[in-house]
Symmetry: C2
Subunit: 152 residues, 2 copies
């Protein structure tokens, strides 16, 4: 298995994991600072899904950091398989959470014509946008991982 | 490239394509028979996404049918690559559309406590459920396709 940018234990992989953590944390922060989010199921699901993404990406960022310090690229097929499954599940949950929240944000902003709580609506929009960015970032990781098998 | 269940041109592949068409058509029918769906952006997006799934799956079902009649399994790598990309894009759009509509259906049914238009709400729920089933079905296809490369 060759080591190319994105392989666990490389700088690109560490950068991607940190990006995922930052976007997911930003999404949680933007949503959770609004007290009324808990009345809407989709927003609670977004928080839960982004929470999972933070935990997963942080754990893998730490692993990448250790591998970088030891100057050792991780390419054990069993470990990579675990990363593939984890990345795919997290990416799918993130897309579903971001989409369901986007549906509601669009409903309040566009379809109902007026957003009653102006500042809160902006927080919802920012949270959804960050969740989509987080999804894009984890999608890149989840596309690189299976590629390791094919190219290896 | 070996031919196992799910390879384009096999009965399993044809069955999966027909299932995708049926679920997506059912989802469109259930949503479109309600006149007020067009006021909600997420529901319009669901119709568009399910429409794309119907067209894509129907085209591939016809191809599978022709291949079955000619008793010839399709395993040209270029054609399979096109199917992989098409399946993945369709699956992703379907998940996003189903999730955004599910977010709104949950908002009306659970979060707001009462659904003003009882029968319409049931149609929305049915449409979302069928969209998720369609997504599961196209996900199976999109997982089999890359497997053809790995196992081939």
């Amino acid at each position: 298995m060759r080591a190319f940018p994105g392989t666990p234990g490389t700088l690109t992989s560490l950068f991607l994991r940190i990006t995922q953590c930052v976007f997911a944390s930003g999404s949680i922060a933007s949503m959770a600072t609004d007290p009324s989010f808990s009345t809407i199921t989709a927003f609670c699901y977004l928080i839960a899904s982004m929470g999972l993404q933070v935990v997963w990406s942080f754990a893998l960022a730490v692993l990448d950091g250790i591998a970088l310090l030891k100057k050792k690229v991780l390419h054990n097929p069993v470990v990579i398989s675990l990363f593939v499954v984890g990345d795919w599940v997290t990416a799918m949950l993130s897309l579903a959470a971001a989409s369901s929240s986007a549906g509601i944000a669009t409903l309040y902003f566009n379809d109902l014509g007026n957003c009653r709580f102006e500042e809160e609506c902006r927080k919802y929009q920012l949270s959804v946008a960050l969740a989509f960015l987080g999804w894009v970032s984890i999608s890149i990781s989840s596309l690189i991982m299976p590629w390791l098998f094919v190219a290896g």
